[in-house]
Symmetry: C2
C-alpha cells in the first residue's frame, strides 16, 4: 500500500527542511529534525554511519566539499511498511561543479509526531 | 522489531542462491528466484531499473564487466516492516581486479513462499 496523502505531506515537509535549512542555510543542528536519533546513513565511498553526531559530521563535510547549495528531493514511490514507510526518491543537487542527480531509498519513521529518515542510502545516477 | 530466525533463514537462502547460482554459475534465469516480479534495482552510475527483464540485463552486463565470481552477502541488521523486511547488508564481491566491499539496503517481500528482493540499492564503501 502506498503512503496516504497525510503521510506524504509530512515527508515533503521534512524534505523541504533538509533543502532550505540544512543545505541552503548550513544549519546542521536541524538534522535532528530530519533524522531519527538512531538513524543510519550509507553514503557512497564511505562506511555506514550511525547516530546524529556522525550524521552531522558527514553532512557538514559533504556540504562544504561539494559546494552544495540546494537539494531538491522528489518522492518517486512509497510503500507503507508497518509503522514506517519505504520510499524511493530522486535528488537534484546543486553543487559547485553543476547539477548532480542521485537516487535514494529512505526508511521513514515517525518520531515526536514528525516523519524522519531512519535509514538513508543513495548513489549517483551517472 | 528485528526479523525472527525463520525469516532470516529464508533471507540467507536467497542470498546464497544469488552467490552460488547467479554470480558463480552465471545462471541469470535464477534471478527470478532472487527478485520479485516487479522488483526495482538502483545501481550506482545508472538510473533505476524495474522488472526482471531489466534486472537480468543489468546483472548479465555487470557480472561480465566486473569479472564477478562471488558475492558473499552478510545481513547486518533487519527490521520487520509490515509484511516485508528492511535489511541493511554488506557485500564482499570477488571481481577481476580484486575484492570490493559494498553496502546495501534491501526491501524484502515474500513471493510464492520465498523471501525475495523487492527494492535493492547499493553503493561501494570506498
Amino acid at each position: 500500500m502506498k503512503a496516504p496523502e497525510a503521510v506524504l505531506a509530512g515527508m515533503r515537509q521534512t524534505n523541504e527542511i533538509f533543502d532550505r535549512e540544512v543545505v541552503a542555510q548550513k544549519n546542521l543542528d536541524r538534522l535532528a529534525r530530519i533524522y531519527t536519533a538512531g538513524a543510519r546513513i550509507l553514503p557512497p565511498g564511505a562506511p555506514m554511519m550511525t547516530g546524529l553526531d556522525q550524521i552531522k559530521s558527514f553532512w557538514g563535510a559533504a556540504i562544504a566539499g561539494l559546494g552544495l547549495t540546494a537539494a531538491k528531493l522528489t518522492i518517486v514511490d512509497t510503500e507503507m511498511a508497518g509503522d514506517g514507510v519505504v520510499e524511493i526518491g530522486q535528488a537534484a543537487l546543486a553543487t559547485g561543479s553543476g547539477e548532480m542527480i542521485a537516487k535514494y531509498v529512505v526508511h521513514w519513521k515517525q518520531e515526536g509526531g514528525d516523519w524522519k529518515w531512519n535509514i538513508d542510502i543513495w548513489n549517483p545516477n551517472s
